[in-house]
């Protein structure tokens, strides 16, 4: 009883710290091993992993750590986030191999690339 309460508190604290809601929080334990996830922080008007190599099937999650809104928009139109306010997340699963360049449509000098291997 004591232990489970403790764990509940910890998980709540993690959710709050990350600034995400339970509804959109990725659940690491629920994901099957084949469905890898990786996080790209947006901070200081920069995609923190500007060139990100991933394997096919990986879900990339962008999280906005800035005090200003950003977006994540693929140049080829394959994905486009809604506006991400502070703490908001956007995820996209890369099912196809290839190179995907993206940018922030509000601050188009912010650019990034996801390279999806076979």
């Amino acid at each position: 009883m004591r232990l489970s309460l403790h764990m509940l508190t910890v998980s709540t604290a993690i959710l709050l710290t990350a600034g995400i809601t339970a509804a959109i929080a990725p659940s690491a334990s629920a994901a099957s091993p084949a469905q890898a996830e990786t996080l790209v922080h947006i901070a200081n008007f920069t995609f923190q992993r500007p060139v990100l190599p991933v394997s096919r099937g990986t879900t990339v999650i962008w999280v906005n750590d800035d005090d200003v809104p950003h977006t994540v928009v693929a140049r080829d139109g394959s994905f486009k986030s809604h506006v991400l306010d502070t703490g908001d997340r956007f995820s996209f699963t890369f099912a196809k191999a290839g190179q995907f360049d993206y940018y922030c449509s509000l601050h188009p000098h912010m650019n990034g690339r996801v390279v999806v291997g076979a």
Partner: protein
């Protein structure tokens, strides 16, 4: 004859700049011209025939973070400052980023706060005003009546031609602000019939000259617009976006960015990013402000007076 006329125009412009200098002192530091707002210069505002307007910018209604926990309150303070001006302005221009997130409530609050002044307001969008799911529809439905394209338009007032440009729509990856060919074609037609002696005021959100490319503080195709404007004897370009005063003089054209009413941003190159600059609460109002502009008919003169919310 033409030469005399041209040099006469130049003298007029130089006189105008000198006169404007009583309100906004030009100085250059680190390659970026800056000005010092002088509230005292308000007292020197012309009593002769002419008109006045006020520029407000970057109200970011809805912003509530460390750099300013209440952007509505500071906007209300800015509007109170306009209401207290010695002469009631003929109209207001808002050079964009009215809202933080393009929400109806944010636009509505801005409109209501400015509405208390009872004078016309001309809006153009900033990039923050284009981020509703429909890419600017909320802004255009409310503020964009009788405008073209993404919200551009022009009007004449008191012998001055005002051009409102939009450089925040359809931004290109890797680029800065963007006007686009449709708007440039419209601008060419809009200016075509005007005498070169007509004073021009251009306003747009992102600076129409490159203040700092690393932060996207410029407009990729602004040169095409400026080329159309060079024949005029007096062109004043008013921008926002960078939340601080920067100025540049190029021939008959002067460029001015305005303070925000919400939060300051860092001087180019002094911070890792252009994000909101958090200053001690006691200093915030001194970094926010409004700009009044006065025209004297027949002299092509513009006097710009930047004043902060602290005074």
């Amino acid at each position: 004859m033409d030469d005399d006329f041209t040099s006469g125009k130049r003298r007029d412009v130089l006189k105008c700049m000198a006169w404007a200098g009583t309100g906004a002192l030009f100085s250059v530091g680190a390659g970026i011209p800056t000005s010092l707002g002088l509230d005292a210069a308000l007292a020197a505002a012309p009593k002769t025939a002419g008109f006045q307007f006020v520029q407000v910018s970057d109200s970011h209604i809805g912003f509530a973070k460390a750099a300013n926990p209440d952007a509505r309150a500071t906007f209300e303070l800015a509007v109170a400052k306009i209401a207290a001006l010695p002469r009631k302005p003929d109209f207001i221009i808002h050079t964009g980023d009215v809202s933080q997130l393009s929400r109806e409530q944010e636009f509505d609050d801005a409109q209501q706060i400015l509405g208390t002044l009872g004078i016309p307001v001309f809006y153009i969008p900033g990039e923050h005003d284009m981020i509703d799911p429909e890419g600017g529809k909320a802004f255009l439905d409310r503020f964009g009546k009788n405008t073209r394209g993404s919200g551009w338009y022009s009007f004449d007032f008191g012998g001055v031609h005002f051009v409102a440009l939009v450089n925040v729509a359809d931004l290109k990856p890797g680029g800065m602000g963007n006007l686009g060919q449709d708007q440039l074609a419209w601008l060419k037609a809009d200016l075509a019939g005007l005498a070169s002696s007509m004073p021009i005021v251009v306003f747009a959100h992102i600076p129409l000259w490159t203040v700092y490319a690393e932060w996207g503080w410029g407009t990729d195709d602004s040169e095409q617009a400026l080329r159309l404007l060079r024949r005029f004897g007096s062109v004043t370009v008013l921008n926002g976006h960078i939340h601080q005063i920067a100025q540049k003089v190029e021939g008959h054209m002067t460029f001015h960015t305005a303070r925000s009413t919400a939060f300051p941003q860092p001087v180019p190159g002094t911070a890792p990013s252009p994000g909101p600059l958090t200053v001690p609460a006691a200093q915030l109002h001194a970094m926010l402000g409004i700009r009044s502009a006065a025209f004297v008919r027949g002299h092509d003169r513009i006097a710009l007076i930047d004043s902060t919310l602290a005074t």
